[in-house]
Subunit: 444 residues, 2 copies
Amino acid sequence: MEKIYVVIGGCAAGMSAATQIRRREPNAKIVVFEKTKFVSYGSCGIPFYISGEIKDPNSLIVYTPEHFRKVRKIDVYTQTLVEKINTSTKTVEAKNLETGEKILQEYHRLILATGGTPKRAVPLKKNVFRVRNLEDGINLKNYLNEKIPKRVAVIGSGFLGLEMSEAFRKLGMQVFLFEKMSRVLPQFDEEISKIVEKELISNNVSVFKGVAVEFASESEKIIANFNNTHIEVDFVLDAVGVSPEVELINGTSIETGKTGAVSVNDRLQTADPSIFAAGDCIEVKHILTGEKIYIPQGTTANKTGRIAGINASGGSEIFEGVLGTSITKVFSLHAAKTGLGEEEAKKIFPDVEVETSTSLSKAHYYPGAEKIFTKLIFSKANGQILGAQMVGKDGVGKRIDIFATIIYAKMQLKEASRLDLSYNPSVAPVWDPVLRAINKALQQ
Amino acid sequence: MEKIYVVIGGCAAGMSAATQIRRREPNAKIVVFEKTKFVSYGSCGIPFYISGEIKDPNSLIVYTPEHFRKVRKIDVYTQTLVEKINTSTKTVEAKNLETGEKILQEYHRLILATGGTPKRAVPLKKNVFRVRNLEDGINLKNYLNEKIPKRVAVIGSGFLGLEMSEAFRKLGMQVFLFEKMSRVLPQFDEEISKIVEKELISNNVSVFKGVAVEFASESEKIIANFNNTHIEVDFVLDAVGVSPEVELINGTSIETGKTGAVSVNDRLQTADPSIFAAGDCIEVKHILTGEKIYIPQGTTANKTGRIAGINASGGSEIFEGVLGTSITKVFSLHAAKTGLGEEEAKKIFPDVEVETSTSLSKAHYYPGAEKIFTKLIFSKANGQILGAQMVGKDGVGKRIDIFATIIYAKMQLKEASRLDLSYNPSVAPVWDPVLRAINKALQQ
């Protein structure tokens, strides 16, 4: 009998899984249910579409549903919501959101790739936007094109909040950015937050930190109320983060971990051995601490989707975990991190020290050289490098990955100081900022 | 009695050594002899000064002799050539090249940092330039400013030959590039050479490979003769490489290795225990093969200078060697490598395989995304990654260092495929070219 694989969710994780299954099982039936119109797109590109830097939302799409159907023989159902998983009969119940048509689909192996759903800071509905998937992005862009709003309140200064603030400023809007924590980009250490905040302010974003903001509707306008201050805005972007979309596991033996996301073993199998899970709905292991964390990211979605697909179809790949490597663009800056922040590190490792340094992205005399600020977190006890954070206008991008590799290899400062890194005046100073940061830490 | 350190050579290695000694020995006497007018400059910036991208040659200088004298209390003698080392009396004999004045200087510890000297492909003297130090660069620039030559023959297509070819094209000259090997940039693998050659040709550099060129003087002109072809040029840049400057060790117990460069132990000590050596005059160990190689580089000069200074003044640092990580800029391309090339690897490791891949430097939809070609060299037997070479218009710079770190950590393909690298559409596709290359190799 023909084997049937069902994949719930057609974004990065789901389509990576489906593709791997097809490679390994040329004759299996593979069904993907996706609730939106789109599959296989780069949602991280949405802010650049909002800003107008990318004109066509279709350019964010890697492959269309038609491509998957025709070339890869994968039965992709778009605008189709899975409403229930019946693990006893090994079936899923889905509904076409356009026609209302119901589908009952059996499976031998199921891949759960339901992704994340935006958290809600604001109960208001009218003119409050949340941007998670490409449809959300297109809705917001249509609103911007139609209403040409002038003033926006952005709630949350994580990656999405900051990247969208930049996009709105590029469109000429007044941007009021609200962060309930005491500093912007709170997933980074304080030193980085300060530099990022300066960049926001110098780009005329009004930044309010440690602020509990409330909103009231007033005809077509929204009033943001905080600290006895009242600011009128045209719309609100609610960007306070993402939580795992796990509703479907009710009534199954699949469990969530302490993060609230789906718990999987290192083969990405859930408690139900026929069901694998991947992407933004699962929790993953932090490579350094061994702890389970929830950190939805495109890279991880692609990797875990790939591995879930391989393992569901009889392969045996391990997902080892993440270091939390990430990077965001804030106007002319890139801010990047990998490994543990200072506070996280201090909770787990004894004798944690930090060292900050500033060096140039290229030779001092080479045009376009820009300052890079680096914070290094390491164990004074054994010299192990535990985390790094960098911010600057140039050359941060892939330099953080040198640290990601150093930390993954569990190198100590001394060992890492011996790295033979590339040098040409156009790409680095003769002592690369990475080595300079390490050498400075060694001198402590 | 006050301890006396003498350093021969005031470029990267020498001044790094002198600086480290001063840090560790606040009261020692430190003397540096430098045969040119300049110390502590970035000679890798000379092509950019020739092209006019950098206007002032002084901007290549990190610290002036005055700075070293006043702030670091280091006795820097410029335009002073050391003519002899007497190891029995522990003295050096030097001569001021301007005044002819002779100096006899005793030492307790000596640092040999004499650097390299350009090899000579061309016996002609008039209008033949070799560019090694900043004085050479200034001489050439003065000639260009004064004579405004139109046609140049560049001999050698290594880093210097290519970077100078670009500089000459930027000044509007006709450039004839001669390489005696069958391909340009012969220290890279063939696939990279081909891409680089295309870039040269599309920038109107006339490239002649596998060519034995001879030159004849004819009044103010030079005739390049090869393959029954005769091309008239105004001047020649002889850029066929560098050999270690080791003349001074005659009459001492210091030895050269099979590369012809000064042989040192891993503390950078020569056969004479009072004499340390660093920079472009020494041979270094290849980290992967353990073999001694001669690979003069600014990064290594700085590192070995630092370590020689520390060890000469009683410290104990190890120089572990190099991976040959290097990068050059050729018009709009960067070409970079680390570890072993295919042929080198095959000589030493059994079962060497290669894999090539092309991917984008940023997300496909992000403005400025450019192709990166990657060649990976690895052991099929145990999966160890042995070398990587990359070429492209964007994002090659520090990506090669991810491979340098991978190779240094002796990672296997599988392990490296699990790296958690950074992603944002503005700096990488969701599968970074590094991971894509590794995954493709894993599929072999």
